[in-house]
Subunit: 287 residues, 2 copies
């Protein structure tokens, strides 16, 4: 299904980007724009009309939840190497809808208190409530990505986590939460260029961290860890999508398309009045 | 001080709207547009250029806090009668900046757990961290507004709260939080028209609550409770502003102006690099 408002796709973004049986991250070109041949200009126009549709759907989702307990929610999970553009997605895709309907959680290095609990403890606390669009900027997947690459936990603990994640996400989707898991995929060269820009601009220095270079050295290990994540945790109810992200406009358009797909599929409706409209009109007139 | 980006003010919005010694809410015309004679069209243009400035200042505020612990924050407190436009402020003023730098807290009817604690317990938990723009959609002031009007607590407890609020806000401002307290002021007739619109539009029914009419009956008591709030809690460090809100464009522009004033006054700066840029360039090139 292609979102109604994004007219220029030549294929279905969900189908094109979904990680399926036998998908190999190594085969995905970070510079490609699968399903979209019309370039940046049309892409930006589609992003704008898509924002209006997303806005409408988000408000319906929220409205529905005010009346019907246990209403659906959406959870967008964003994972990526540094500089891949998670912040830009939050800003330009999610930022287009009413902030009152968005629950944003940025997961940093765990605190000692968080480390003392199971890795899903801090995640559970930030699961979006009914009617919300939740966004995880990094997530429980850090615990099988950097966790694996840097051996932050014993190998058998890392192994255990894949299954725990699948069970956890199953519980969430059973409770009516649509999970959209996105890996923004950039090339190592593109990251180099973006880190270089951060070094060139004093107003970007605060975003630069010398540790980013250390992580860069581990690029192949991270790609392998992502590949394992996809194989172990891309399920029918909570699939992974790999979004080529060298072209920022494409990544934003594609993530918006995935959110639109999830919301169109929920198809939230304005709730019917739970009061007598005529009676209320009379009360208002008399007030 | 008038925000640089909002060109068409004829006076300083902060000075014009601030509740001072002897201010009477009853004297404020909800349909007025103090300090702004140029009408809606210019107002919207100013709102747009103001959004760009707010965006820039917010990012600096956030950036600064990543490097300097104990950096300042901003807290916008929004209070109003129903339909006065709090949601529109969140959406169109606050929604213009990066969601990653905004901490929004909507305070509803307290839960039993919240009621078992002091009224400031749930508020404290939502105080914005360094670098954030916090927004309270309703606040601790509910406990001296509806709390007073509907006698939800004994009179001496309500009395106690004014002082407790002043002490609490003093502690926050001492810790570097700029508090901007806004009452959006609409007329009873304007509310009637807005409630009527909610009844006319099925996509707005979910926003209508029959209890809104009951609250309407208490309009004079609420105005009196607001007047008392202003007299007891409008302090130099945490002043109240009464923003006429019959004209939505004016209310948005004015609240944006107050936020810009607070941020320009903080004057946040891009933090200097805490690493050697030349060294990092070389490391990046070699990576």
């Amino acid at each position: 299904m292609t979102a109604k408002s994004q007219r220029n796709w030549t294929g279905e973004p969900g189908a094109l980007l979904r990680v399926g049986e036998g998908s190999r991250l190594a085969d995905v070109d970070p510079a490609a724009t699968p399903g979209y041949d019309d370039g940046k200009k049309h892409g930006q126009a589609d992003l704008e009309s898509g924002a209006a549709e997303l806005d409408d759907l988000q408000e319906r989702l929220f409205a529905q939840s005010r009346v019907a307990p246990g209403s659906p929610a959406v959870l967008l999970v964003l994972q990526a190497m540094d500089t891949a553009g998670k912040g830009g997605i939050v800003r330009h895709v999610v930022g287009a809808v009413d902030p009152q309907g968005v629950a944003l959680a940025a997961f940093k290095k765990p605190t000692p208190e968080e480390l003392a609990h199971d890795f899903l403890w801090r995640i559970e606390k930030r699961v979006p409530g009914p009617g919300m669009i939740g966004v995880f900027d990094r997530s429980h997947y850090e615990d099988v990505l950097i966790g694996r690459v840097r051996s932050l936990a014993p190998a058998e603990e890392i192994e255990r986590r894949y299954g725990a994640i699948v069970d956890f996400e199953k519980r969430l989707t059973d409770a009516g939460i649509r999970i959209v898991k996105v890996m923004l995929h950039i090339s190592s060269d593109e990251q180099k260029a973006r880190l270089g820009e951060r070094l060139d601009r004093p107003d970007k220095h605060w975003k630069y961290n010398p540790g980013d270079i250390d992580e860069r050295e581990l690029w192949p290990a991270y790609l392998e860890a992502y590949q394992t994540v996809f194989e172990r945790t891309s399920t029918t109810n909570a699939p992974w999508y790999v979004v080529p992200a060298n072209a920022k406009w494409y990544a934003r358009l594609a993530v918006q398309a995935l959110l639109l797909e999830a919301l169109e599929d929920i198809d939230p409706q304005w709730p019917a009045a739970d009061f007598d409209v005529a009676v209320e009109r009379a009360r208002l007139a008399a007030s």
